[in-house]
Structures are given as structure tokens and as C-alpha cells.
């Protein structure tokens, strides 16, 4: 498989997963606001800023928007093309990558990505978002779920498939941990958290719902929301498909299927780091994590996930393509347009 193709499949998959996570996160937090009594700027800021921070784009947001309102945050995280992690940007980049490997993916998958992209750029999308945000987010989520289903149902289980899996699970582990981190301000820096206040409990249930984990959590732990149990569930559950441990387990398997190296061994840096991280998650408890402090723990975890992504790139895209600067990109684009003057149909 061409290295560039592997790279594109990986990113296509990551961006689809990312768009879905953002849709869920913004949707849940919008709904949560409905339960608030007074919505002054300070309350709004306290509610929304962690959401913005969770995607690491706080600085850009502050530059673009004077107030931290729900309207602004959704605009920023959903439609703003200046935000590389907005839903519009993510789906746009998923499609760009899909287009580069148009010959490698199925027609169904391509058409669905394309459909979602065209929808987001249509006036219908903005209208739906204004009139019924939750229907809007449902559409995005459904689009992404349909894409995942199509991927599962139509893509051949070859090397390309495992790159798609790597992208999906790496992104999922990262996003779940970031969503969990949204509530860190309400926790002590170290040690076990106290029983949450009613408002805090609402916040923690929003975290669960942002990860589609509400039902699964209740089935396991009952209706009472305990921060320690939430964190344990989202980080360490072996069975819940959006937990970090579950995602890392699948990531680890996909990496090994690419190289053919068995569990317990490794042939490259990525496999070493993924195996090590999986073992650590398998042999940790919530107490261990709170001992370190949830925020610190998640910080380190994200560093490890990044390192795995980096190592994956080094191993397979082994003669790295230089990332061209803006000028080179523009020149390349121009030349691509000129390169067949008989593009003919012009």
C-alpha cells in the first residue's frame, strides 16, 4: 500500500471520528444550559470555556470572539473554518483525504462523506442549526455513525482497513480523555474526590452523555453519579467501546495486524508504546489515577497518545513527505491546475 494512501486513510478516519465527538460534546453542553437558572457572563464562561479548552483551541477562540456564549462556542466549534478542529473543517479534511484515496474506498463510503460535506455547506445546515440545534447535531452524529457502519460493512479487511482502525481508535482515546478533563476544575489536584454537589453531578452526567456512556454507566453503577466511577468507567472499562482502554486495545491490535508481530513483542516504536500504554491501563485502578490527579494523569496520557501517532507515522510513512509551507502549497495547487493544459474540457 502506498505510504501516502495509508496516511490519507488514517486521517480520513480520524477526522470523521473527531467531527462526531465534537457534535456530541457541543450538543450535550447546549442542552445542559437549559437547566441553569441564571445565565450571566461568568456562569456562561465557567460552563463553556472548559469545553473550548478540551479541544485545545482556547487562544484562537479568545481572539475571534469577545464573549463566551453558547452561540459563539457552537459557531466556533461547528461552523468556523478558521478553527481547524471545527466540525466543518474536520469533515472537509476527511473528504479531502478521502478524495486522495478515492480509488481505495468504496463508492458508498465516498458518497456518504461527500453528502455530509455538501450538507454542512448548504443553507439547510445553518437553518437547521438555528431552528433546532439538537436535530442538527443528531444529523451530524448519524452521518458519522453511518460512515462508521459503511466502513465496517464495505471495506476489505486489508492493510488499509487497519490504518483506518488506527486513526479511529487513536482519535477516540484522545477525545474521550479530553471530554473527561472538562470537569477537572471541580476536583482536588490530588486524591479521591468528594461527593459532588447537585450542579457538579449534572456536569458529570453531561460528560457521560458526551461520550454516549450514560446508559452503560447506569447499568453498571446505578443512577448515582460519582466522579471517581465516571473516570474509572471512561478510562479503564474494558468493555465500553468509547473508553480509553477499549480504544487503546483496538489500536494495539490494529498496529500488530499491520506488521504481523504478536502480542508481547514489538517491531517498532509505535507498537512498543501502544503495548506499554495498554498494559498500564489494564493494571491501573481509579485510586492510582486520583493519586496522581485526574488532570495530570490525562495530560500525560495525551502525550503518550501523540507519541504513538508520531511513531506510527515514522514507521510507515517512512520517507516522510515534507510539510510544504503556504507558498509551496499555493504553487503546488496552481501547478496541479495547469499541469494538463488539455484538461481539455476547460
Amino acid at each position: 500500500m502506498l505510504s501516502r494512501v495509508a496516511n490519507s486513510l488514517y486521517w480520513m478516519s480520524r477526522y470523521i471520528e473527531r467531527a462526531e465527538s465534537i457534535a456530541r460534546l457541543v450538543d450535550v453542553n447546549l442542552q445542559m444550559l437549559l437547566d441553569f437558572r441564571n445565565l450571566d457572563d461568568a456562569t456562561l464562561n465557567a460552563h463553556w470555556m472548559p469545553v473550548v479548552q478540551s479541544s485545545g483551541d482556547e487562544e484562537l477562540f479568545r481572539k475571534l470572539y469577545p464573549r463566551t456564549t453558547g452561540q459563539n462556542v457552537t459557531e466556533f466549534m461547528v461552523f468556523n473554518p478558521a478553527n481547524n478542529n471545527s466540525i466543518v473543517s474536520s469533515i472537509g479534511q476527511a473528504r479531502e483525504n478521502a478524495r486522495m484515496v478515492r480509488d481505495q474506498i468504496t463508492t458508498e463510503l465516498w458518497e456518504e462523506i461527500n453528502r455530509l460535506y455538501l450538507f454542512l455547506h448548504s443553507p439547510r445546515a445553518t437553518k437547521l442549526w438555528r431552528e433546532s440545534p439538537s436535530d442538527f447535531f443528531q444529523t451530524i452524529r448519524n452521518g458519522s455513525l453511518l460512515l462508521q457502519g459503511l466502513t465496517d460493512a464495505t471495506i476489505v479487511r486489508n492493510e488499509g482497513w487497519f490504518f483506518i482502525q488506527c486513526g479511529r481508535y487513536l482519535e477516540r482515546a484522545d477525545k474521550t480523555s479530553r471530554i473527561l478533563d472538562v470537569r477537572h476544575a471541580s476536583l482536588p489536584a490530588h486524591g479521591a474526590p468528594a461527593d459532588p454537589s447537585q450542579a457538579d453531578a449534572l456536569g458529570w452526567s453531561a460528560v457521560l452523555r458526551s461520550c454516549s456512556a450514560w446508559d452503560a454507566y447506569k447499568a453498571l453503577n446505578g443512577a448515582e453519579i460519582q466522579p471517581a466511577l465516571v473516570a474509572e468507567f471512561l478510562l479503564l472499562s474494558d468493555d465500553f467501546p468509547r473508553s480509553v482502554r477499549f480504544a487503546v486495545r483496538h489500536l494495539n491490535t490494529a498496529l500488530r495486524r499491520i506488521s504481523g508481530v504478536h502480542e508481547g513483542r514489538f517491531s517498532n516504536e509505535g507498537e512498543k508504546l501502544a503495548g506499554r500504554l495498554l498494559a498500564e491501563l489494564q493494571f491501573s485502578t481509579a485510586e492510582d489515577i486520583f493519586e496522581i490527579g485526574l488532570h495530570n494523569y490525562i495530560d500525560v496520557l495525551q502525550g503518550k497518545l501523540n507519541a504513538i501517532g508520531e511513531a506510527l507515522f515514522q514507521a510507515y510513512i517512512f520517507q516522510p513527505f515534507q510539510t510544504p509551507d503556504d507558498n509551496e502549497l499555493r504553487q503546488q495547487e496552481e501547478q496541479q491546475q495547469q499541469a494538463g493544459p488539455q484538461a481539455g474540457l476547460r
Binding site: 496541479q336 491546475q337 494538463g340 481539455g344 474540457l345
Partner: protein, 494 residues
């Protein structure tokens, strides 16, 4: 130009066509007396029964499906990545068997002669030595690659894929307008349009006697494999694309998928010891045949344009060494030069000792004194074209131009006569076309058949029919209001 008397609307036409007016042009569907030509009768019987509502619904369904599939081209100069579909008119253009046989024979003759010509001018240059073509015309052709003198190309094939543009004049005679011997595009539209029309009007195809076009991709793959370097039993064939921003990118992925080959960009390839490899997740893998959809200029920054960001350094050397094959070969652009076009009838005569089956449009060369004089005196009647432009650019439509535009071209011709030719204005044949607000109306069309030259020469029946959607316009290019049509070649004559 309208020459005949205005046509009378024939009473026996189906309702949607009652108002149809041939306007005195050669009409593909109707004879001058308003009778339906025999090869359109079966079609019209079915098509005429479609109600306007049904037709509108089918049109928007087809447009939507093209948009969904991403069968789009990028709009040049729009960095926001605006994409458009290439407008597709649902009324097919129909060619009866006897006309197609004539076209086919003429095109085979032409590509055969052009390949012999290219081999000759890159080797012995007999045609120049014998005085059939003046040397300076060949040497001064913009795309003549002197670097390629005496290089042997696999199986002596230069043009593997050719997209020749054909028009019909006011008498209905088929004429060659230009040869596209570099990397002609458009074939994916032929294949996609056919699929779309079959889905939309399945009943018309039943017992319609239309020849299929599906096997183009297999034939293309055969041609590419045929040109593999000697001694390679199972060649790896790839398609080299400029990238996603190229207007024909959809076509590149389409063809690669149909042929089951990798689509690569320049950065996916590298050259070691004059062999070409692609970078894969399992390391480097050799490449033997490259179907390149990039112009010569961008192929290899060490030989041609130094600033090319799309090429593969060292590729030309690997090609010279015979370790990789390119389709089309390097240097075929010389055959696209509009001055060389003037000589094609002589080229056919010289190499094949035959009269050309498909005539050229009458052409004047500005670098010949008598022709130049005639051109400058008749700028208001002629079409003037730059020798190396395509896509309807660098062109003066004398009769429609302003005085200032004609003056501009007068200066250009005098400054650089080698680079200009003149042709009489041909009033292209017209075809019923659905036009917003007008219903079915006559619009000018051309035809681009796709010719594959390998072990044998194959032409898929028909080709791409382009239509000038603007009223009265003769320019069929998509950047200037052009669209496409299905082209049907019938098994029989009606």
C-alpha cells in the same frame, strides 16, 4: 452561417419538439425539410412520450447524483475549492453505423500516421529531408523536445491515447478540428454519462441498438501493459496524477479504479539507479508503466521545469534507459501544434500513401506571406488561433469580435506569425438540447472520440459530445458555458 430556408416545424414531431427550429443550420436530428433523420426515429418515439414534469424530475435527479458522486471539476482560480458539475444534457447525440465506420477509419488512419511522423522527426527526419515539411516549423514547435532525439520509445508508440476533436460543417461533413496527443481528458464523462442515462431512461436503451462503451478501461489497461519495458512479465502500471486540485482529478481516480491500478502523485515515486519505485508501507516497490496525466513540462524538475512540485526527479533518465514506459510518450505535443495540424494531410500522404479520410478545416499559416496577407485582410471573417493554446483561449472569433480585439490580433500576428493560424468560421452542426426557459432548442456541438493505440487500435464507439449551451455560442469548452451529451453509436443505420 444560416444558408437554407427556415425549417417548417413538422407536424409529426412529438409535442415537446413542435416549436423546434433548426434555424437553417445543419441539424443532427432533422433534415432541412423538417423530417426526422432515420437514426433518430426510434429514440424520438420513446423520448417524445416523456412529459415535461417527468423530464424535469429526471434532470434534477441526474444532476444531484453527479454532485453526490463528486463527478465535478474544480473552478480555476477559486481557492475556496468551489466545485461544479459539468452540465449534462439528457438528449443524446446519435451516430448511425455508416457514419461511424467512416469516422473510425479516418481516425485510425490519422493516429497511425501521427505515430509514424513522431518516430520519424525524433529519428531520421526523412519527412524534413524530403522537403514535405519545412524544418523550421518542426524545430520551432513549442513542444518539440530536442532532448529526445534518437531515443527509442517502447514499441515505437508515441501517442497511446488520443482525443481528436471533430466537428461537422453546414453540409454535415465531418472535419478534424484538432488532435489532442498529450493527455486528453473527458473519457470518464463518456462512461459516467452513459450510466446516468441508462438509469434515467432504461426503456429507450431496450432494443435501441446502442453500442456499449464499458470496455474502455480494460482496453486502456491492455495498451499500457503492451508498452511495458522488455522482459517484464507482470508489469506494475500506475496512473500519475497532478493531484486533487487538477480539474480532471475525478477522471484520474475513476480510471485507476476501473483498471485496478494505483493512482500516484509525484511525491509517491522516486528513482534509484534509473529505476522507478513507489513508496509503500512495506518499502519501495518497482513501477514499470506510468500512465501520466501530467504534461511534459512538469514531469521531471531535473530536465524540464525546475520549479515543478509535481514531478519525479530522475524520471526522464529512467525512461531514456528503457526501465519505465510512459504513456503518452514525451514530445507528442509537437503533433498538437496548430501549425503541424496544417500538415497532417501531407503527413498521412507521406507515410501511408493514402488520401486523408477525414479532412482538416481549411487553414492559413500566418508565417506564409500569401496566407498572412489574406488573414490580415479578412480578420473579420476568420477564426484566428494561437498555435499552442487550448480550451478556447488565445483565440479570435473574427465575425463576433470588436474592432479593438481584431487590432490586437493584427499586432500579435505581425509580431509572431509562426504562432498563429487562421480558419474560416465553421457553423458547427446543431443538436436539440434542453434549455432553461426555452424547452428543446438547437445548440452547437462537437465530438471528441478517444483512440487507443496499442497492439491494435481501438476507439470506443462515440466519445464525448460537447455542447455550447449558450444561445448562438460556438464555444463548447466547459469554462465558457459548455456542457456534455451522451454519444450513441448504433449497430445499424436507424
Amino acid at each position: 452561417m444560416p444558408t437554407s430556408t427556415p425549417a417548417r416545424p413538422a407536424a409529426d414531431l412529438p409535442a415537446p419538439f413542435r416549436q423546434y427550429d433548426t434555424g437553417g443550420f445543419y441539424d443532427e436530428m432533422l433534415e432541412t425539410n423538417g423530417q426526422v433523420r432515420p437514426h433518430y426515429q426510434h429514440f424520438l418515439k420513446h423520448f417524445g412520450a416523456v412529459t415535461p414534469e417527468e423530464f424535469a424530475a429526471k434532470r434534477s435527479a441526474v444532476d444531484l447524483s453527479f454532485l453526490r458522486q463528486g463527478v465535478t471539476f474544480n473552478v480555476y482560480g477559486d481557492s475556496k475549492g468551489a466545485e461544479r458539475i459539468f452540465p449534462f444534457d439528457l438528449v443524446p447525440r446519435i451516430i448511425p453505423a455508416h457514419e461511424w465506420e467512416h469516422l473510425e477509419a479516418g481516425l485510425v488512419q490519422r493516429i497511425t500516421a501521427l505515430n509514424l511522423f513522431l518516430h520519424d522527426i525524433y529519428h531520421e527526419q526523412n519527412i524534413i529531408k524530403d522537403g514535405t515539411i519545412p524544418a523550421h516549423y518542426v524545430m520551432s514547435a513549442k513542444h518539440f523536445r530536442r532532448e529526445f532525439m534518437n531515443v527509442n520509445v517502447p514499441r515505437d508508440i508515441y501517442i497511446h491515447v488520443c482525443g481528436t476533436d471533430i466537428i461537422r460543417d453546414d453540409k454535415g461533413q465531418y472535419l478534424v478540428l484538432e488532435d489532442n496527443a498529450r493527455c486528453p481528458s473527458g473519457v470518464s464523462y463518456v462512461l459516467e454519462n452513459r450510466r446516468a442515462l441508462k438509469r434515467t431512461f432504461p426503456a429507450i436503451f431496450e432494443a435501441g441498438g446502442v453500442r456499449p462503451v464499458e470496455n474502455y478501461s480494460q482496453e486502456l489497461l491492455k495498451v499500457l501493459q503492451h508498452t511495458a519495458p522488455a522482459g517484464v512479465a507482470e508489469p506494475t502500471v500506475v496512473l500519475l496524477t497532478p493531484g486533487v486540485y487538477n480539474s480532471a482529478y475525478f477522471e484520474h481516480t475513476y480510471l485507476a479504479r476501473q483498471m485496478g491500478i494505483e493512482i500516484v502523485e509525484g511525491r509517491d515515486l522516486l528513482v534509484r539507479d534509473q529505476h522507478v519505485f513507489m513508496r509503500t508501507t512495506k518499502g519501495l516497490q518497482p513501477v514499470h508503466v506510468i500512465y501520466r496525466r501530467i504534461d511534459d513540462d512538469f514531469l521531471d524538475p531535473t530536465v524540464f521545469r525546475k520549479d515543478s512540485a509535481l514531478g519525479v526527479p530522475g524520471l526522464v533518465n529512467a525512461y531514456r534507459a528503457g526501465n519505465v514506459s510512459l504513456a503518452n510518450s514525451i514530445g507528442t505535443g509537437v503533433a498538437d501544434d496548430k501549425v503541424m495540424y496544417y500538415f497532417v494531410p501531407r503527413i498521412i500522404k507521406y507515410y501511408l500513401d493514402q488520401e486523408p479520410l477525414l479532412p482538416n478545416v481549411q487553414t492559413y499559416l500566418a508565417s506564409e506571406d500569401a496566407d498572412k496577407k489574406y488573414m490580415l485582410e479578412n480578420l473579420d471573417k476568420l477564426v484566428v488561433k494561437a498555435a499552442n493554446e487550448a480550451g478556447g483561449y488565445g483565440m479570435l472569433m473574427g465575425p463576433h469580435a470588436t474592432k479593438a480585439e481584431r487590432e490586437d490580433f493584427r499586432k500579435r500576428i505581425e509580431a509572431d506569425p509562426r504562432n498563429y493560424i487562421g480558419q474560416p468560421m465553421i457553423s458547427l452542426s446543431r443538436h436539440p438540447t434542453y434549455c432553461e426557459g426555452e424547452g428543446f432548442a438547437g445548440r452547437h456541438i462537437d465530438l471528441r472520440p478517444f483512440i487507443l493505440y496499442g497492439e491494435k487500435t481501438t476507439i470506443i464507439p462515440g466519445g464525448l459530445t460537447r455542447v455550447a449551451l449558450r444561445k448562438g455560442s460556438l464555444v463548447v469548452n466547459s469554462s465558457q458555458g459548455g456542457g456534455s451529451k451522451e454519444s450513441w453509436v448504433l449497430y445499424g443505420n436507424k
